[in-house]
Symmetry: C2
Subunit: 341 residues, 2 copies
């Protein structure tokens, strides 16, 4: 079944069939209905490759998740994927999902670029990439429409790059202020991946917030991490082996890190929040059910991706020179992992 067949059966030309499919105004109702009847009756759907080749959009966007080898098959990831798919679907777009295990692997990078150059997709969203990831820069430079989460706009912003971030600064401020309000003065931090934008911004936010509250930062209590449960566990584990003064509260770069940290603390006989307070970031789906229920800074990934997807598709449909940037606020959620000292 193709448009020629439909045309023959409806007694019109392919041009007219095409006009009906594409909702041209200059088709009389009678003709339109005649054609539609055949289309419905024969279950005809235009071949998408032919449409794309003739200049239409693929109506497909790419979703690229950069997930390191030791992937935590995380509830969050699932939510991100589903958010993008559902919002794209609401705009009539399909999503080609792709997982990037190693953004440094040449073969992998080639595959990702291929997807754009082959014109499989009209644009793409990248989640979890390093700030200034070179191959993403290349794609932007090539003019492809790209949405990125957790990266900064470069000096000279481009209109085909859409940037989405949380207000990490304000989040950290809320966390520190809350702890300070509970009487904590000795506050430590477990950092995230410093190659991603949110790593350094959260840390800088922490430093600024500490200063604002008139609190000293103890460099021994600034621990390295990488946004994973394991890294929170390792950070605390290593830290506790060395004897020395301990903080009364710890801010983790995200909730997964907080889970790992609490696990390590428990193993060392330290109860949360009795012996030490812990605060996370994200409000992961498990944080509420965690023991103790995790106090954290809530962030709305679903809303972010909804906005990002919508703007991406809008850009695809109507390229404009607007520079688009999304910044979402976050807010403190008080549960049971912090106590007054």
């Amino acid at each position: 079944m193709n448009s020629i067949e439909v045309a023959r059966l409806a007694g019109v030309s392919r041009s007219t069939v095409s006009r009906v499919i594409n909702n041209y105004a200059n088709v009389p109702n009678e003709t339109r209905e005649k054609v539609m009847k055949v289309i419905q009756q024969y279950n005809y759907f235009p071949n998408v490759s032919a449409q794309v080749l003739a200049g239409k959009r693929a109506r497909t966007i790419g979703l690229f998740l950069i997930a390191p080898g030791h992937v935590s098959s995380d509830i969050l990831t699932n939510m991100l994927i589903v958010s993008v798919i559902e919002h794209a679907s609401a705009c009539g777009y399909y999503v080609l999902t792709h997982i990037i295990r190693d953004a440094k692997d040449t073969e992998t990078v080639k595959n990702v670029k291929e997807i754009f150059f082959q014109r499989r997709i009209d644009g793409g969203i990248f989640i979890g990439a390093a700030n200034h990831e070179p191959f993403i820069e290349e794609l932007v430079a090539e003019g492809f429409i790209v949405g990125v989460v957790d990266q900064e706009h470069p000096e000279i912003p481009q209109s085909n790059r859409i940037v989405a971030n949380f207000n990490n600064d304000s989040g950290m401020k809320q966390a520190v202020a809350y702890l300070a309000g509970l009487g904590h003065t000795r506050i430590g931090v477990i950092n995230g991946d410093m190659n991603r934008l949110s790593g350094p911004t959260k840390y800088e936010g922490f430093l600024k917030a500490m200063q604002l509250c008139g609190l000293q930062v103890n460099r021994d209590w600034v621990l390295e991490g990488s946004f994973h449960e394991e890294s929170g566990y390792e950070a605390i584990h290593t830290f506790l082996r060395i004897q020395g003064e301990r903080p009364t509260a710890i801010i983790a770069a995200n909730d997964s890190v907080a889970f790992g940290a609490i696990r390590a603390l428990k193993e060392h006989g330290l109860q949360v929040p009795e012996h030490i307070s812990v605060i996370g970031f994200d409000d992961h789906a498990l944080s509420e059910k965690h023991h103790p229920a995790l106090t954290t800074i809530r962030v709305d990934f679903s809303d972010m991706l909804k906005q990002l997807t919508t703007i991406l598709i809008a850009k695809i449909e109507k390229p404009s020179s607007d520079i688009r940037e999304i910044t979402l606020d976050c807010c403190l959620v008080i549960r049971e992992s912090c106590r007054r000292v």
Copy 2:
């Protein structure tokens, strides 16, 4: 950049460029290298729409997840998606993921069919569909290559339908035998969705296993459910409101249902396993961390989807009349939610 440009720059015809791209044997090394150099230098990737239109495959498969409205954004779902994507990727295929909220909605169904008819994908995998779901039957009848999880092969099996299932019968037998071995004689069950194949097969497996162990089935202890946490909670909640004799052990249709059941039991002051034993099915990622750690029947979804994806792609690349069916075994994992009576 297109094949004409490449041809011009390499000083050959488009035919030759195409032969190089498609690895034809009859191209001398010298010519091949000349062309490859231009391709590499100019970052040329053939337009996929043109290739598909000319008869090549899209190298894309569809992944359709039927997830009810009140979706549990589940760790399992994430694992399923990632499994399919990674195994498809290993075969050089892309995955178009699509979420079906309501398989009874005409518009939704039309969209799914469209994806096949438009030739966006070379085949598709359906997870979570009802047994004999009509629109999947239609797609199979149209000759599309389809992989389904948790459905039965019809009377007259088709070679373009690949069926993947777990050996639920054996799983239930293991669960009942284990409980019987612990001295339980009063065993209840919370069923799954009876519209899906695994719903009735698990229940039938339960009945058979009970008979095999010489145990009586008490109809009051056969509770309705639907594979969701909430349904396990509801089932137990409703059941406990009615006074009467209680079972000493309950088998849940899956781990999510078991979680819900345990939550409800706790609320009624019944501890697991002290007052009642509970056994799940699946070995969900959270089961090990659950309190109490859940005894369950382990099932390997990742392996199943790896096999299904591989066979689907093999069928796409080389259609054959073989009837393909996958059945994976499951095995008991003993943890802490069951005790001897």
